[in-house]
């Protein structure tokens, strides 16, 4: 008996990342060389980027019996994921080394998490969607807990794990209902079955509620947001940096695959749910962020509000909305990388620069870092000419285009509220007297350079957003046709 081998070429990046993650594990087990693991991780991600760019094309290719899809949207998101992961790894080197978690296992877990994201991005089947999500989540739980000396990290990991398991349960339960209803796990076939009409709209509604709730948990949308501040706060900042960036791209892909590829015919049903979640997220995120004194918690609440904004693009249900949401996700990840990256960069051994007061008078200590942080904060607040502004603008345009003006008005309102706490950081940096007058320890030149580039990218993309927007629109068009 012989069986035809599936076409492995589209999955080459995944295979590469998996293989090299295992190589890193072997290196860790036999040589205990964390430095080599670090370099190899970066090389792996670069190599995967090369392979993805090389194997990607305009056509959507399915393989593994239709469970894996390699399309333009997936390729763009994967490239952004590698970029985010590389940046996060470079930023966190010094931080990890000072806290004794600069270990091969950490980098292996990073790669496994990236693999999980890639699987989610390329999934065209409920099974692979779920397995990718679990792979990502499991790696993240472990990364949060890796700093064992920190009580807060262990507690955060526990919360994350329990709530994450609950969310997975909800998601699976919803998926099982969809399976019972349509008799298939394949997203395209589910879509086709729904289009033909289902025997029981009640079961569909139930399934949707559970699926959307699970999705909301993973994205960190209100009212399923409770874990976000605690986990972002408790986790080692390097891990927070990682959790807060690349996985958001995967979560966006997850939402797109599930809601658009699979449940598009039920758009009317899930639009309502997403609208409620989006409005709640923006309200809770922006209002609660104002109260925070810890910058990690503040950024966590800001994440919640940003994820609410992201949902607005998806729920618009138009092509413009989807590509706007994709642009928003990428822009958010860039800003978030810079924001958390700065927290990581300013932290030293035995000292976390996580209180807002730590940023008082940053300008007098390091004008350049203060300027970069200023750019990031302006961008997150959605002030032109930074990229965050265009991200918000395209979403609002798509909302108006879809006739959801009331949502657009609410979004603008909450953004205005949100601008307050971002601008407060700028005020602290420029107009308050510093606690300590010493210059910022200028170590890790590569991280500093990358951080500067990150800030400049946010500015440049704000000045010329057109190429990235076109890329998103193009990719979305190629994938959704």
């Amino acid at each position: 008996m012989t069986y035809p081998l599936p076409d492995l070429l589209p999955a080459l990046p995944e295979i590469l990342v998996l293989t090299l993650a295992c190589v890193i594990l072997v290196i860790e087990a036999f040589f205990k060389d964390a430095k080599a693991a670090y370099v190899l991780t970066l090389l792996t991600l670069l190599g995967a980027a090369g392979v993805t760019a090389f194997t990607g094309g305009e056509m959507s290719v399915h393989t593994f019996n239709g469970m894996f899809v390699d399309d333009a949207m997936g390729d763009v998101l994967k490239l952004m994921t590698y970029l985010a992961a590389i940046t996060a790894v470079v930023y966190s080197r010094g931080y990890l080394a000072e806290r004794g978690i600069f270990k091969g296992e950490y980098f292996a877990l990073v790669l496994f998490a990236v693999l999980g994201m890639m699987v989610m991005i390329s999934a065209s089947h409920l099974l692979t969607l779920y397995l990718g999500l679990e792979l990502l989540s499991l790696s993240l739980y472990a990364m949060v807990a890796l700093h064992r000396e920190s009580q807060a990290a262990v507690e955060a990991a526990m919360k994350y794990f329990v709530l994450g398991a609950l969310a997975s349960g909800l998601l699976l339960y919803g998926m099982s209902m969809l399976y019972g209803l349509t008799g298939t796990l394949d997203l395209a076939q589910i879509s086709a079955a729904l289009r033909e009409g289902v025997s029981s709209p009640v079961v569909l509604a139930f399934g949707l509620v559970f699926v959307v709730a699970g999705l909301g948990f993973k994205l960190g949308n209100a009212p399923f947001h409770m874990w976000v501040p605690d986990v972002y706060h408790g986790a080692p900042t390097a891990v927070t940096l990682f959790i807060g960036t690349a996985p958001k791209l995967a979560a966006f892909a997850f939402a797109m695959r599930l809601l658009v590829d699979g449940l598009e015919p039920a758009h009317g049903d899930w639009q309502q749910m997403l609208a409620v979640m989006a409005v709640l997220s923006m309200a809770i995120g922006n209002l609660a962020a104002i109260m925070q004194t810890n910058i990690k918690r503040m950024l966590a609440y800001s994440t919640i509000s940003h994820m609410g904004f992201l949902l607005l693009g998806i729920l618009a249900g138009t092509f413009a909305g989807y590509s706007a949401a994709m642009f928003y996700a990428i822009a958010y990840v860039l800003m978030s990388l810079g924001g958390f990256g700065m927290v990581v960069y300013l932290s030293r051994a035995g000292y976390e620069a996580e209180n807002l007061d730590d940023y008082k008078g940053l300008n007098s200590r390091s004008p350049w870092l203060a300027a970069v942080m200023g750019i990031l904060m302006f961008s997150m607040a959605g002030i032109p000419p930074f990229v965050g502004f265009y991200a918000k603008l395209t979403i609002l345009q798509s909302l108006v285009g879809a006739g959801l003006v009331w949502l657009a008005v609410l979004a603008v309102l909450f953004s205005l509220i949100g601008a307050f706490y971002y601008l407060r950081v700028i005020k602290l940096m420029y107009f308050d007297a510093p606690h300590s007058t010493g210059a910022v320890a200028a170590e890790a030149g590569d991280a500093r350079m990358l951080l500067s580039l990150n800030g400049l990218a946010v500015l440049l993309l704000g000045l010329a957003p057109q190429p990235l927007m076109a890329l998103c629109a193009n990719a979305m068009q190629l994938s959704l046709q």
Binding site: Y3, L25, G132, Y141, A142, G180, S199
Partner: protein, 206 residues
């Protein structure tokens, strides 16, 4: 009622009893052993459904490995179940409600109206459940199968990374090092010249 039905009802009764005893047993070790029985009977039920691979794997994995480790841990812990069970009666109405809902759901699912489930056709004589599962797992579902194995790998890595502490100053000896030791490294033959005894000879003594 034919022979298979009798066996089914027997196994189902044992399964229910065992399941009930898992949550009512006073002693945690007893509860774990009842759970073993429950797994075993469930495997028997699956066997009746001609799902021999799943049945045997259930016994092999859950009874043979998972529950052994479970009992291993339960035996060493001094758990006071009475304390754990406080509030059992308070939660009972809620639990009964959930259980009732689940029964209604199962009836809805298994009743033909909602999902249109029908009993599967009998398989031909030479049909091998094991072979068929293997074929599906390694062809159509090879991608999710491999992903699942990666998840397990991550679980192993995470468990080890989180629990392994390399304490300095351990006195354990590396067996490989021990095995490598040869006589040459350990024993030194010294050529001692015969010396005259210093004590007086017997003759002088007398």
């Amino acid at each position: 009622m034919n022979f298979a039905d009798v066996v089914f009802f027997l196994f189902a009764a044992i399964l229910l009893l065992a399941g009930l005893r898992v949550i009512t047993a006073r002693n945690p070790v007893h509860a774990a052993l009842w759970l073993v029985l429950a797994f075993f009977t469930a495997a028997g039920l699956w066997m009746l459904l001609e799902a021999e691979f799943l049945a045997i794997t259930l016994v092999l994995v859950y009874v043979g490995a998972v529950m052994v480790l479970f009992i291993f841990v339960v035996m060493m812990l001094d758990i006071n179940l009475e304390e754990l069970r406080q509030g059992f009666w308070d939660f009972l109405p809620l639990a009964a409600l959930v259980a009732g809902l689940m029964i209604v759901e199962m009836v809805m699912v298994l009743g033909k109206e909602t999902f249109g489930l029908v009993a599967p056709l009998a398989k031909p004589e030479n049909y091998s459940n094991t072979k068929e599962l293997g074929r599906l797992l390694y062809t159509d579902y090879v991608y999710p199968f491999e992903l699942a194995s990666v998840i397990l790998l991550v679980a192993i890595v995470a468990a080890i990374a989180l629990t392994l502490r390399r304490r300095p100053g351990l006195k354990a000896v590396d067996p490989a090092w021990q095995v490598k030791q040869s006589r040459e490294g350990r024993v030194r033959l010294v050529n001692l010249k015969p010396q005259k005894p210093e004590y007086k000879s017997e003759e002088e003594d007398e």
